[in-house]
């Protein structure tokens, strides 16, 4: 299992294709925070997102923040939420907006494997709940759009050494979650037989 450093937004798709399920990744550059209501607005209500998502790294988050007098936001505690609720947005995020990486916790079900393979996308697993550490790796909240959805806005964060992340689903059709679940289902049969 290799270790990589990747800067987002990416411009060279080889950067995504070299990542394999199980690899460790540390991220630099800019990432975009997004959550349920943000994606419902884009895809179910048909509102164009006011940020460029080409080559983007999306983080499933609803950050804890403090509003400054100048209208900007300071971070308080920024962590990551369960991804599985938002799996249906994977295909349109890649096909319509060119998103290349989605990061969250708990994994995506198998329906994400095919679009990620076809569109050259990856799913990064972060450690859910490890928000104190994650907050130190976010240097600044640079932009916020759709503040009325607070805290489920569109957030642009500048990050440094964001991770370590694990490639949960790669762009070659491999998913750690699928493999772990398949082995666990076999194991359950064995455990039931012992009860």
């Amino acid at each position: 299992m290799a270790t990589h450093e990747v800067t987002f937004p990416i411009t060279d798709e080889q950067e995504i294709l070299k990542l394999r399920a199980g690899d460790e990744v540390v991220v630099q550059g800019h990432i975009i925070g997004i959550r349920d209501r943000t994606q419902i607005r884009i895809f179910d209500q048909g509102v164009e997102p006011p940020m460029d998502l080409r080559g983007a790294f999306l983080l499933h988050t609803a950050p804890g923040v403090r509003k400054r007098d100048d209208g900007g936001y300071d971070k308080v505690c920024i962590g990551t939420t369960t991804s599985a609720r938002m799996v249906r947005f994977t295909e349109p995020l890649g096909a319509q907006y060119g998103v290349r990486a989605i990061c969250g916790k708990g994994g995506f079900p198998d329906e994400a494997i095919e679009p990620m393979h076809r569109l050259g996308m990856v799913y990064f697993a972060i450690v859910g709940g490890a928000a104190a550490l994650e907050t130190t790796q976010i240097e600044e909240i640079e932009e916020v759009a759709w503040e009325e959805l607070m805290p489920e806005c569109l957030w642009k964060f500048r990050v440094k050494d964001f991770g370590p992340l694990t490639v949960g689903i790669d762009a070659h059709g491999n998913s750690l979650y699928h493999d772990v679940q398949a082995r666990a289902q076999d194991k359950l049969k064995e455990l039931y037989a012992r009860l």
Binding site: T82, G106, G107, G129, A130, V180, A184, L191
Partner: protein, 301 residues
Amino acid sequence: MLQPPQVASDLQHAVEDAAAHLYVWALKDIPQDLRDALAAARERETSVPGRRVLETIHRNINVADSERNLVCQDTGIAVYHAKVGEHFPLHPSRIYEALRDGTARATVEHPLRSNAVHTITRENTGPNIGYRLPIVHWDFVPDWDGLDVKCVPKGSGSENMSFLKMCVPADGVRGIKEFVLESIVGAGGKPCPPGIVGVGIGGSADYAMYLAKEAIMRPIGTRNPDPLVAELEDELYGLLNETGIGPMGLGGDVTVLNCHIEHADTHMTLNPVAVNYQCWAARRASAHIHADGAIDYDREA
């Protein structure tokens, strides 16, 4: 003429202070028994992604300590356990007000992310309070004048992984074991494993789930006083760690930190089993409040 209830009012403020402190304390400083369990998990885990997860959890706890930040951004739904002595001089209706007001105060003053929404409109209802929020589990103790309060902020990632099955008596204990195993395997990485699996058995459908929540509030690795139930806790703890789900569902040896079971006697025709999951950041903090308003905080209860 009756005097205004000055003592009760001061006591209500003391309980409010305790609640405000407990909520933030629980979110920032996880108990030693949990730190020890996570350290042991880190030693034991052999999978590469699993070790990476447990190492990151270890770094995260240290950063939360040094930065005085929250361990996890999900400030949860505020759940309290209140054990009220028969002679504690504040009525539970006022204790509830104090717990609610303390939750709101902590949320505003810190500030903490507010998660409470109306369940239909999804609009925010206030600083982590709302209709029937926070949630309080009550116990009443005869011949005592104290109050024990435990705050357990419950994250949604793990709460969403709650399961109930009305097994039939013919399913027996085997049915209980199979349901717990199938639930935790099905939950995969979503509830932030490795955590505490709370199981409630017996009673009624609603009471089984209530008991499952009680189970996750216990200090980690404690055992049910009924030896039959304690034996089931040990067995399920072992079996769950054979499933290979691993830390954050990425595969590995450590799927759960422990399994706690609470039980109630039930109807001859019922065999309910409820599962409530508590994530690795199994936050809790307690206080003993004396009848005179003095507060002793307790990290380990």
